[in-house]
């Protein structure tokens, strides 16, 4: 076997293993089972932290019931733009006392619920 072929093979195998680790373990990135709200939850850069925050919102509002409103408000807009619009309009929600833009609070609660 040529040396070049050996190196290529090892590299390919390594890539497959790394890809597998990345995709099927939580070592580099936490993976979540599919949910009906992935389009919304994908907006969260750190879903784990959001879920930790959102867990404190348990019982304070109907979380799945907010999904439609979230989709509407996030349609064609970044999370940052939507949150900014919430702030300007005074659409704020308290979670464990933290004064949050409504969209951030609802998304966090959704992350905790799923």
């Amino acid at each position: 076997m040529k040396r070049r072929t050996l190196i290529g093979g090892v590299a390919a195998a390594g890539a497959v293993v790394a890809g597998g680790i990345y995709r099927f373990t939580n070592l580099f990135v936490k993976h979540y089972p599919p949910t009906p709200y992935d389009d919304l939850l994908d907006r969260l850069t750190d879903r784990e932290q959001a879920a930790r925050l959102g867990a404190k919102a348990a019982g304070t509002f109907d979380v799945p019931g907010k999904a439609a409103a979230l989709r509407a408000s996030l349609q064609g807009q970044s999370l940052g733009a939507t949150a900014t619009a919430d702030i300007a309009a005074g659409r704020l929600v308290e979670v464990d006392g933290w004064v949050l833009p409504q969209t951030v609070a609802w998304l966090s609660a959704l992350a905790a619920k799923i």
């Binding site: 959001a50 925050l53 940052g80 005074g90 704020l92 949050l100």
Partner: protein
């Protein structure tokens, strides 16, 4: 130089006949005496205490309390020359124009004068409290040159400023008794008496003027003062007490024909750790957390206050939110910061968190009141009983102020806020009080609504005036000392007019 006379050394049954008797040697009484110093008026200043704390004299302040937890009546004030400035923290801030206005959402609010009426007197008041150059809300540029102010999105809250009475030996502000004793003695027309306790304000038989003051000492000397004019300046509690105990002619007490004396008592609640402020960018400028002395010697500290426009529009009382200590965030707090900062596209890797405290303005409440109890002090005067209250709406309105503050922090991407008090128990758990005794002889043009008129004259009694924060009909969140001194200087001008 006039001697300071210890009333215990006076012969029994002495009769003094000054033009003006000032009852009380605290900031109001001393400021008034200094304002009228070297005029043609012959003035006696009658101070109950001596030059230093005496537990036997202080005990005459003891009383009872019901209602919400409050400072003991003999702990929140001091009965010796200089009065309660002897434990003053030196915080100064002028009242805002809106503090004088009647607010339709706040029953019983409004002064019969505007802030403009006090403005000519603030410069001298500022000198007396030794708070340096008048800067207050003109401080932004000066302080921003040290470090940028916390940016806030447009809204109801802005950075405002306290100034502080000059420090001495690192901590002590202007204690009026010590600071102005020499000036009092130097005034050729002012005779200060110590250990002189007023036991009754005796009205003429028709009740329309003060005939004389009964005075007693703890060594059982009794004497009389028969002045042309009297100014009661004993503080927000004792002013009411002396009027109520003086009930031989007006059976409800002097000036109490409409049952107002002692009602509407107020203080500035100072709940601690009401919220957590997170600054995404890292530490706040030092002047938010600490008193900061600038080049001209003025001492400033930033505070977050509601704007007058927002107070009018949203129906909010005064409040002054202060930054206290650095705190650590719990797991949820860290998650809130990370999630919110990421959503807003802000780097919060150096975020710092601070606990916030506050000085609040209470709504006037006629049932929050001082009355006389059956217990007597060493001179036989009924002691005071305080029914202390604070309404849920006081808390609710301040909470809305904090939400607006949190909104503006988010809007500027500067930080965020956590509210820590939701229930009455939460608020009361960390409640402290300013020991600012306000409102018990409130000012109004209408005798049915107030004890004194706009000139601080007691309605119906032609030669009795009241000085001090007991006349404040609405209270402000600003600390009262600077403001009551200004109001007293205005009274001094009025007395010059009516007496000379």
């Amino acid at each position: 130089m006039t001697a300071l006379i210890d009333a215990r050394s006076l012969p029994d049954a002495t009769v003094l006949t000054p033009d003006l008797a000032i009852i009380g040697g605290g900031p109001a009484g001393i400021s008034l005496a200094l304002a009228l110093a070297n005029s043609k008026l012959n003035i006696v200043l009658l101070e109950s205490g001596g030059l230093n704390f005496d537990p036997n004299i202080q005990n005459m302040y003891a009383g009872t309390e019901t209602g919400v937890r409050y400072t003991a009546l003999d702990a929140g004030r001091l009965r010796f020359l200089g009065g309660s400035t002897n434990h003053w923290g030196g915080w100064c801030r002028p009242m805002d124009a809106i503090d004088f206005e009647a607010r339709d959402w706040m029953p019983h609010s409004g002064w019969p004068i505007t802030r403009k009426a006090l403005e000519p007197y603030y410069p001298r008041a500022q000198e007396l409290v030794e708070a340096g150059t008048w800067m207050y809300d003109k401080s932004d540029a000066t302080m921003a040159a040290l470090a940028p102010l916390v940016p806030l999105a447009a809204g109801g809250i802005y950075t405002s400023w306290f100034q502080f009475s000059k420090t001495r030996d690192s901590v002590l502000p202007t204690y009026f008794g010590h600071r102005y004793q020499q000036e009092l003695r130097a005034a050729r027309n002012v005779t200060p008496y110590t250990n002189a306790n007023i036991t009754a304000i005796r009205l003429a038989a028709d009740g329309k003027r003060v005939d004389r003051l009964d005075v007693a000492t703890l060594n059982d000397k009794r004497f009389t003062v028969k002045p042309r004019q009297v100014v009661l300046a004993c503080g927000g509690m004792e002013n009411a007490r002396l009027l109520l105990v003086s009930n031989d002619v007006m059976t409800m007490g002097v000036g109490n024909q409409n049952d107002l004396v002692g009602r509407f008592f107020a203080d500035n609640p100072i709940p601690r750790d009401v919220a957590t402020l997170v600054s995404f960018a890292g530490p706040l400028p030092a002047y938010y957390g600490n008193n900061t002395t600038i080049a001209n010697g003025t001492i400033l500290k930033a505070t977050f206050a509601p704007t007058m426009a927002w107070r009018r529009q949203a129906g909010m009382p005064g409040s002054l939110t202060t930054v206290d200590d650095l705190v650590d965030l719990d797991e949820t707090g860290r998650a809130a910061v990370v999630t919110t900062a990421l959503a807003l596209g802000v780097d919060a890797s150096n975020a710092k968190a601070y606990s916030l405290g506050c000085g609040m303005e209470l709504e006037p409440d006629p049932e929050r009141r001082l009355t006389l109890s059956a217990e007597k002090d060493a001179l036989g005067l009924p002691r005071l009983k305080l029914d202390m209250r604070i309404s849920d709406s006081d808390f609710a309105r301040y909470r809305k102020t904090l939400v607006e503050f949190g909104r503006q922090l988010l809007g500027s991407r500067a930080g965020m806020l956590r509210l820590k008090c939701s229930s009455r128990d939460d608020w009361m758990k960390t409640m402290d009080w300013g020991n600012h005794h306000l409102g018990t002889t409130r000012m109004s043009d209408d005798p049915r609504q107030g004890v004194v008129d706009a000139d601080c004259k007691v309605h119906g009694v032609e030669n009795l005036h009241i000085a001090g924060s007991s006349v404040f009909p609405t209270y402000s969140a600003s600390n009262p000392t600077l403001n009551l001194v200004a109001l007293t200087l205005r009274l001094g001008d009025h007395l010059k007019k009516v007496m000379t």
